[in-house]
Structures are given as C-alpha cells and as structure tokens.
Symmetry: C2
Subunit: 159 residues, 2 copies
Amino acid sequence: MLGADSAIGREIRQTKPFRSKSQEATLGLFRTTDLLRRCFAETLQGSGVTAQQYNVLRILRGAEPEGLPTLAIAERMLERAPGITRMLDRLEAKDWVMRERGQEDRRCVHCRITDTGLALLAELDEPVAAAEDQVLAMLTEGEQETLVILLDRIRAGHA
Amino acid sequence: MLGADSAIGREIRQTKPFRSKSQEATLGLFRTTDLLRRCFAETLQGSGVTAQQYNVLRILRGAEPEGLPTLAIAERMLERAPGITRMLDRLEAKDWVMRERGQEDRRCVHCRITDTGLALLAELDEPVAAAEDQVLAMLTEGEQETLVILLDRIRAGHA
DNA sequence: AGATAATAATTGACTAGTAAGTTAATTCCC
DNA sequence: GGGAATTAACTTACTAGTCAATTATTATCT
C-alpha cells in the first residue's frame, strides 16, 4: 500500500512497493528535479543560452562591477573547475563574458559579464521569473515553505 | 527576513532575499538533488559503474527474463534514445548487457542483463539500499512522507 | 636565497545529455 | 501490390560533468 499506489509507482510501471519511504522520497526528488530542469531549459531555449550558462551569467551579473575569479564561480555553482573553464570559453566566444589575468595575483583569471551578456539577461529576467513561479504554482505558499524547510534540513544534514 | 537568513541564502553568499517562495524552493530542489546525486555517485564509484548505468542495469534486472527493447529502457529513464544506445554500447563492452535484433520485429533490439551484470548488482544491493536510507535519515518518516506527497503534487501539476 | 609546498587555472580523456538528421523495418491505406 | 507514413535504433555534433595530470604563479620554510 505504500509505493504501488503512489504517483511514482505508476509512472515507472513498478508493481512492487518501495523498500522504504526514504527510497521513495529520493527517487521523487530525482524525478521532480529532472522535470523542473526541462521546464527551465524550455524557457531559455530560443535565446541560445543553456541553463548552466544562464546561471553563470546571473552569478557574474551579481558580482558586477568587480567580477569574479574562475574558481569563485565554480564554488557558487557547486561544480569542479574544469567544467567552468570550458563553459567560460564558450561564453567568451559568444561575447557574453570577458576574462583577463589578475594584476596582483597572476594565477587568477578575472571574469566579468559584458554589456551583451547583461542585455541577454535583461531580456530573460521576466520569463525566467514567471517560470520560477509557475513550476511550483500547484503548491500553496505554505506548502512551498514546508518544502524549503525540509530541503534545508536535508542539506544541513550533509554538512 | 525570507531568504537572507535561510540556509540557501548563506550557502551562495546571497545577500538579497529571494524574490518568491517558489524561487527559493526551486533552487532548493536543484541544490539538494545535486547533493544527493554526489552521494550516490560516491557509493557506486569503486565498482566502475556510474549512477545512470546502475539505473539501466536495475531496470534490466527487473525485466528478466524477457529483457527489454532499447526504447522501453529510454522511456523508463525519461531519456532520449541516443543516450541509451551509447550507454548500452558501454554496458555491452563491459559484458554487463547483451543485445540482439528482435526476431518478429527486426526494428527492435532486445536487451538483457548478463550474469556478470546480475553479480555486480547483487554486490551493490546492500550499499545502495543503505545510501538510500542514509541520505534522508535527518528527516523523520513522517517528514519523508510529506516530502513524497509534495513532490507527487508537483509532478502531477505538470502532466 | 633556494628548494618545497600550495594555489589557480588549464588540458586531456571519458561519461552523459540534447537536438537534428539517417537508415532499416514495419504498418497503413488506397 | 505499392507508395506514404510510422517506428526503432542509430549517428553526428554540441554542451556539460567527472577525474587525473599539468603549468604557472605565489607562499612557506629553513
């Protein structure tokens, strides 16, 4: 009576119940987030920017006018440095980002968003905000708050 | 008072509050799921299998002894066919999966897990089950149930 | 000062996800 | 029976994530 009748159980045509609530919730997190990822990808596609690129540009806009070194971006993205380096290569090729070696510490590479990049973000601000609200519109604000608290607790438990 | 004091607000050094609860919850979902993904990747690494490959093998074990055509696997993974084809290439190279053209319908490719693949899964069953329970152990079973219900509602809202 | 360690960023090799287009087999329909 | 549409799987090209190793620069430590 646990998993067999749940939404996930039907989704993947699984007849056996879940072994534990934790297993069911974990799978639910993965499937739900995958779904939301696709929603945001839809919102962004057409502007020629991917979700990850958009996130980097948002971070760099928030860091204006100083900009940020490469690894500081990686830290905010929870990603490894190699991926960020190559993404910045692509963003620089599209003239959304500019980089230069640091003066005081020549190991660092200073990254800043360009005016072209800022214009792109300005165009996307409204549709992205709308998508952010729509994807969880089936929950009340109180339920969203409950979700936030539970998710915070999960992450805090992994510190 | 909304976002500035929350766990996510501190994590990404964001000083401004979130624009909406929905935005905060969405970001929380992405960050939490990323964290859990890394946990499972840790559990699997050492066996030489990735999380996605493990999922495919689990699906094929569940489909024994009949096996499944390629697109049926893709459907259960919520993924496109090209990714599955290449993953099956790698799984076949490691002798965890075997494929052959269908007899009645020669467009289909029938996929089955091998004995080697079954042995790999048997080794991983315990550690994976332990990980599935541990990653959400900071929540009570009631809270996990609440999470499951909220996630089900989100996915149902996108049907 | 000079060897050593630490740090920032990069490159290479691999796994994986996407979209677009292709091939081969089957089904539909007149 | 034969042409059109559909289906299953695949290939190609691109974006992106991982780990391991490397380079250049800076800091540390006698």
